[in-house]
């Protein structure tokens, strides 16, 4: 059986107005998502995570590359509005307030995606009520408007609007980053519970590594629009093999005094501008292991087994540094012991 969603060599370049140069937002990214699975895209701001999500949903048209949904090629720009795809793909946004029409009632917002499916009014109302229960929204709140809700509740409505059509895949574009820690924890729990209930696949876009670690089955690490490393979440967090992912994981700060990140590998400098990237590995300017071939040819993926792929010539050198202890797992164990 084919994957739920397969992305092959996706490229997106944005032209710069009044210039021949281009912003190379995505440079040949391939990955796949299976049914009921959570795949996370992580990376710094500007690494192309959001652009990938928006390309998948046809909100922007990719420059090149193929997107296959259930084995079927979707046109170059995905037409999510085609009849066969309506309601199969959904999205949850970062800014809960901005993602809800201020003039509509919550019930109308939740029911809107159903209108395109041609459901009868009774069916729609039943589905909305059912969804409100799933996202933990009191029925009375269906009559209010978004401004009357807290940010956490607004985000629940955003999630409710996405699951109301029982989609196969939801793109979650940093759904927790605008929320305070309590609301964030609730939303993460809600997402987990919903996935268990509805068997929806998630593409989770985030730079919040602890949430990613908790939610995802597989993680794709992006750097400047290219994949640095991808693999099962536990393997990647325990044994990152790309200098960039190792550096990224070492930068996680945990709210615990004795769990300090072990800085065995530091990346100097800033993420370079994605305008007119040179050939070769995008990390070459910052990486401690850079050789001449890194600057010339982009490293091909090396399979490390178990679906763990790393795009680096020198991944053995990273491995030789020793595994950065999976601090996130350790913190989780600690926290659950304290809170139990």
């Amino acid at each position: 059986m084919s994957s739920l969603l397969e992305v092959q060599n996706l490229v997106k370049h944005f032209p710069i107005a009044g210039s021949r140069r281009k912003v190379q937002a995505i440079n040949g990214v391939s990955f796949s998502i299976e049914r009921g699975e959570t795949v996370s895209l992580v990376g710094e701001s500007g690494s192309g995570k959001t652009t990938i999500g928006r390309c998948l949903l046809g909100l922007i048209e990719p420059t090149a590359g193929g997107i296959f949904f259930k084995g079927q090629a979707m046109g170059r720009g995905v037409d999510v509005r085609a009849k066969a795809l309506r309601g199969r793909l959904q999205m949850v946004f970062q800014e809960p307030a901005e993602s809800l029409n201020p003039r509509m009632r919550i019930g109308e917002i939740l029911g809107e995606p159903l209108l395109t499916l041609g459901m009868s009014r009774g069916d729609r109302d039943r589905r909305v009520a059912e969804t409100a229960a799933l996202i933990g929204l009191r029925p009375a709140l269906l009559d209010v408007r978004p401004a009357d809700l807290s940010a956490g509740l607004q985000q629940r409505v955003g999630i409710g609007r996405a699951i109301v059509t029982r989609p196969d895949l939801i793109v979650l574009d940093e759904p927790t980053s605008a929320l305070d820690p309590t609301a964030r924890a609730e939303i993460v729990d809600l997402l987990k519970a919903l996935q268990a209930d509805l068997d929806t696949a998630y593409l989770f876009i985030s730079h919040d590594l602890s949430t990613v670690r908790f939610l995802s089955h597989r993680v794709v690490v992006l750097y400047l629009g290219s994949i640095a490393e991808e693999g099962p979440s536990d393997r990647l967090f325990a044994a990152p093999r790309h200098p960039y992912s190792a550096g990224l994981l070492a930068s996680v700060m945990l709210p615990h005094p004795s769990l300090k990140a072990e800085r065995r590998l530091t990346l100097e400098g800033e993420i370079p501008s994605p305008i007119d990237l040179p050939p070769g590995c995008p990390l070459a300017t910052r990486c401690p292991f850079t050789e001449s071939r890194c600057r010339d040819v982009s490293p091909p993926p090396s399979a490390l087994g178990g679906g763990h792929l790393v795009h680096c010539y020198n991944h053995q050198k990273v491995a030789a540094l020793g595994d950065v202890a999976d601090q996130l797992t350790r913190f989780q164990e600690l926290a659950s012991r304290i809170l139990a």
Binding site: L59, R81, R86, G87, E98, L100, P102, A147, S150, R161
Partner: protein, 321 residues
């Protein structure tokens, strides 16, 4: 005034405490109106003036002392007095009666012209704003429309209106069309800029992803959120169109002589001003000025009601005394 999250408060979410149901929504609209009037009493004057002008227009046949188009050569240019309160003009028509009848012509033309321009300009602006930066054909369409609007606006409004009337012939309908034409670019631009900012909102993306058609997105999400500014503009524009109608009639391109109309009244009376008979043109001038002023005040008050930031200031002023 903001919601519990304190994040956004837009025109629609001028939420006083949570409310449910349509009735309380209207009640809160009503209290909003009173709040604004309390904070800015001058707005009440606008509503009084406009109500008075409209009442005159409707009740003119019953309250006017004379027939507005019957000339009485015996009493031409008689000064204000008991038989003719505001005097008579150089053909002996009663000025008060003509002033009372005039808004029938002026307001009809202005309201029709403004409504026509809004009906064309608002949807066109919404479509242009929504399609801007999409596929090449749609982009070309919006560029063409916007450049056409530039051309329209490059002409001095008055000259352009005179030219239109000259082309279509002198009639009330051509004055209406001329007014509609010169006002379309205003609504077009206003809507386009609003739509451009609302199009980038996440709820529009969400509706798109969910499969809503362009029409459904425009109708459900974009128009309701973008239209407030255009509606506030309507009232100001009606006042301004009254002025334009009068202006056209004044130069002889608008309504023709015996029809009671402020602009043509000023025009027929102004030769007499030099010889000391000021009343035939000053009184219609005052009526015209008051009407435009009234509509401008109403436009202002609508603007305040639609802008949460201004509303908060007004509310504070109102409470302070």
């Amino acid at each position: 005034m903001s919601g519990p999250s304190g994040t956004i408060v837009s025109a629609g979410g001028l939420s006083l405490p949570p409310r449910a149901g349509r009735r309380s929504r209207w009640r809160s609209r009503g209290s909003l109106f009173l709040l604004v009037l309390h904070g800015r009493p001058s707005f009440a004057l606008g509503y009084v003036i406009v109500t008075a002008v409209m009442t005159c227009a409707i009740l003119a046949p019953w309250i006017a002392p004379y027939d507005p188009v019957t000339a009485n050569p015996d009493v031409y240019l008689s000064p204000p007095g008991f038989s003719h309160w505001l005097g008579t003009d150089n053909t002996g028509m009663d000025i008060l009666s003509r002033i009372l009848f005039a808004p029938r012509t002026d307001l009809t033309i202005a309201v029709l012209g403004t409504a026509l321009s809004a009906m064309v300009g608002i949807p066109l602006g919404a479509i242009v704003g929504y399609y801007e930066g999409r596929s090449l054909a749609r982009r070309t369409f919006s560029v063409l429309v916007m450049r056409a609007a530039d051309v329209l606006q490059a002409f001095p409004v008055f000259v352009f209106a005179i030219a239109l009337v000259a082309v279509f012939g002198q009639s009330i309908i051509s004055v209406v069309v001329a007014i509609a034409f010169v006002n379309i670019p205003i609504y077009l631009r206003l809507m386009r800029s609003q739509v451009l900012s609302i199009r980038g909102m996440r709820y529009v993306d969400a509706a798109f992803v969910a499969g809503s058609s362009d029409f459904a997105i425009l109708r459900r999400h974009i128009l309701p959120n973008a239209i407030a500014a255009a509606l506030a503009q309507l009232s100001v524009n009606i006042g301004w169109s009254v002025l334009l109608t009068a202006g056209l009639s004044f130069v002889g391109a608008g309504v023709v002589a015996p029809t009671p109309e402020w602009g043509s009244m000023i025009a027929t009376g102004y030769q007499n001003v030099t010889t000391g008979q000021w009343w035939p043109s000053v009184f219609p001038g005052v009526a015209l000025g008051l009407t435009v002023f009234g509509f401008a005040l109403i436009g202002n008050s609508i603007e305040v009601m639609a802008d949460p930031a201004q509303l908060r200031l007004v509310g504070r002023a109102g409470k302070g005394g």
